[in-house]
Amino acid sequence: MNKIPALSPTVLLAVALLIYPLIFSGAFYLDVGVTFLLAAISASAWNIVGGYAGQVSVGHAMFFGLGAYAPLLCYKLYGWTPMAGIPFGIAASVALAILIGIPTFRLTGHYFSMATIAVAELIRIYFGTWDLVGAAIGLQGPATARGWWDLTFRSELPYYYIFLTVLAVLLSFTYLMERHRFGYYLRAIKVGERAARSLGVPVQQTKIRALVLSAMFTSVAGSLYSVKTGFIDPESGFGILVSVQMVIIAALGGAGRLYGPLIGALILIPLQTATNTWFGGGGTGLTFIVYGGIIVLIARYEPGGIYDLWEQISPRRWRRKHAS
């Protein structure tokens, strides 16, 4: 009885996303759709540790970048399909997550954020000097596909549905996580670490698990990016803007909410595209003035993200869904 009202918006959302390419079949709209999905995937992945567990990482580009480099590196070194690199990216990200998670989670609040920024910058600069990964020039994917397995498509359509599948998997995973002990523990840690420990929540271990899961999905997002773009360099993989974008999208929509990042991406990506379309060619920087201004306004007037606004509009529905 509880499931049906909770699921129906999800169904509508799923249908909307599934039929989007049929309605907006132009390559540009598809590309915007793909960009939107990628942003939603990255921010949802960030959301696991940044939103649910409340550990605000501003260095998630480190996982995104590792995930992005792995496929193209496999292609460059061994001529494999870029797909083959995805597991390597995940493995590297998981290793990094554990490596930095153990010492870093002793830090709280801003210290954790600062440490993650520093590690991501460290990796970015290092990759810029490392010849094996193309140093500053970066890596390219196959110019033309040798077969479907190269995932180098002429059309955006396959990317759209691949990305949508990944997003669906990630959101289903998050949905289950929310309902699992792990999800409860994460939320408890977020609001009261000390109280959580007193109730027997293994805080350290739970945080590291969250970081590892988040890193895995962020790495996949990175892999999808580089396979689709066919190019990666230190800035687009590990740049601070990559990290900040994940934070902004999740925070805009509603951090620690299942659909928060999705809603954030739904607002931000069309906003970015529209401002760049309208003002970009003028070269006045108006794109960023509008973009920055809207971010400031939302932070000022809706600090909990757009999702919170929703709650206020339909409190009854929310209560039923979230409190049960």
Partner: protein, 419 residues
């Protein structure tokens, strides 16, 4: 009704795009050129300058400018082979983001229905944007991206009018050989390069060519262009004492290097700047007291009053208040080559334009740049692109090498600054 709202939001956003796109499409007889440059972000200065240059170039093509001599398409208004059709430029801003460059190339081709593309300054963005053009079969003119492998990936639709890193490197080696013949001492050189794609590509090429030419590279210093202090590097140079130091730098860092060298009283026999930062209009006023005799690579020279190049520079100056720099000028030259090909194609059909581009053969007197011509090889690279070396004399650059084009005498060693 949450989901429904989401759906509505998507629809609203999408409708907004559709309206916009509809407004963009018009049925004029013009030839649409989509231009992808970084108009914001770290490389915005170069993108903005190039945008102004492209606008001047479009003005020259679209309106009658008989005063500009042999420059193709200047005399007539519009493209004569297409009944005077005008060029219509659509600028977009990729912000230095390769993925955005890809998206914008897609937009220009599928929404704005441009007939040709041009861009994209940063090599990273040229990589991704050209791949889109190749996929859709739209000619793409790379105006100014140094990385060697933008052409040579087996692409049919990509052309590059500008010289590439290895061309620059070979020019330097020819210059050194020339100097040695004149008895100048060049026993070792040092390379100081900013460490993004531009600096790395050029420095790599110089190291390679120097090996072939038997010029020892005493020191190579890659650095980040956002450095706020470079004294440590200058002291390293001082220690190794090379005969020539080549700087591959952006604007702030090149100024910082010249000033700090003067402050730390380090003066190598010769400094050569690899264009970019040394060609930025803010460079000369900032370092005129500190870097007299510094050389720079450039294929652009303003020339004597009355010359075609001088007039072009006047037009540019009227628009921006600044002199045309080499980077923008090379973009402009690529633009002219593209316009010439479109005119010869006599059609907006991409395949015909591509064919015309492959048959391009502009002579030196038809150019605004100091190239030996414009002619594309099978990879799309202009094989006649070349460059001059210029030298800072007082408050402007003078063309000093090669000898046959020189307007002033080379000073060796450089005089540097007051200290």
């Amino acid at each position: 009704m949450k989901g429904f709202r989401v759906l509505k939001a998507v629809a609203a956003a999408a409708t907004a795009f559709t309206f916009y796109a509809a407004a963009q499409t018009n049925a004029a007889e013009s030839v649409k050129i989509g231009i992808i440059w970084p108009l914001t972000g770290n490389a915005a200065a170069a993108g903005q300058a190039s945008k102004a240059a492209a606008e001047v170039a479009a003005d020259i093509v679209n309106n009658a400018h008989p005063e500009l001599g042999d420059l193709p398409l200047a005399k007539t208004a519009g493209l004569p082979n297409m009944g005077g059709a005008k060029l219509e430029l659509i600028f977009v801003d990729h912000q230095g983001n390769p993925s955005l460059a890809q998206q914008l190339a897609t937009r220009l081709i599928t929404q704005d229905k441009v007939h040709v593309l041009m861009g994209a300054y940063q090599s990273s963005c040229s990589f991704t944007a050209t791949a889109v053009a190749e996929r859709y079969g739209i000619p793409f003119m790379v105006g100014e991206s140094a990385a060697g492998n933008i052409t040579g990936r087996g692409f049919k639709w990509v052309f590059r009018g500008t010289p590439i890193a290895s061309d620059y490197a070979r020019t330097y080696m020819r210059f050194f050989a020339d100097m040695k013949k004149q008895g100048k001492k060049i026993d070792s050189i040092a390379i100081v390069n900013e460490n993004t794609d531009y600096g790395t590509s050029v420095a790599d090429a110089i190291v390679e060519e120097a090996k072939k030419a038997n010029v020892p590279v005493a020191l190579r210093i890659p650095y980040s262009a956002s450095s706020t202090d470079v004294s440590a590097q200058i002291l390293q140079l001082k220690e190794k004492n090379p005969d020539v130091v080549i700087f591959i730098s952006y604007t702030a860092d090149s100024i910082l290097y010249m000033k700090s060298m003067n402050n730390l009283q380090y003066k190598p026999p010769m400094v050569i700047g690899d264009d970019t930062g040394f060609s930025d209009p803010s460079f000369i006023p900032a370092v005129a007291d500190a870097a007299q005799g510094a050389m720079n690579r450039s294929a652009w020279a303003i020339g004597k009053p009355g010359s075609t190049t001088y007039k072009i520079n006047e037009m540019y100056k009227a628009k921006t208040g600044r002199d045309l720099d080499d980077t923008s000028a090379r973009n402009m030259q690529s633009f002219f080559a593209l316009a010439d090909a479109i005119n010869r194609a006599g059609s907006t059909d991409p395949e015909k334009i591509r064919e015309a581009l492959t048959k391009t053969d502009l002579k030196p007197e038809q150019l605004m740049m100091g190239y030996q011509g414009v002619k594309f090889d099978e990879t799309g690279q202009n094989i006649l692109a070349a460059t001059y070396l210029i030298q800072l004399h007082d408050k402007s650059y003078e063309l000093v090498w090669p000898d046959n084009a020189a307007t002033a005498k080379l000073q060796w060693p450089m005089t540097g600054g007051k200290n």
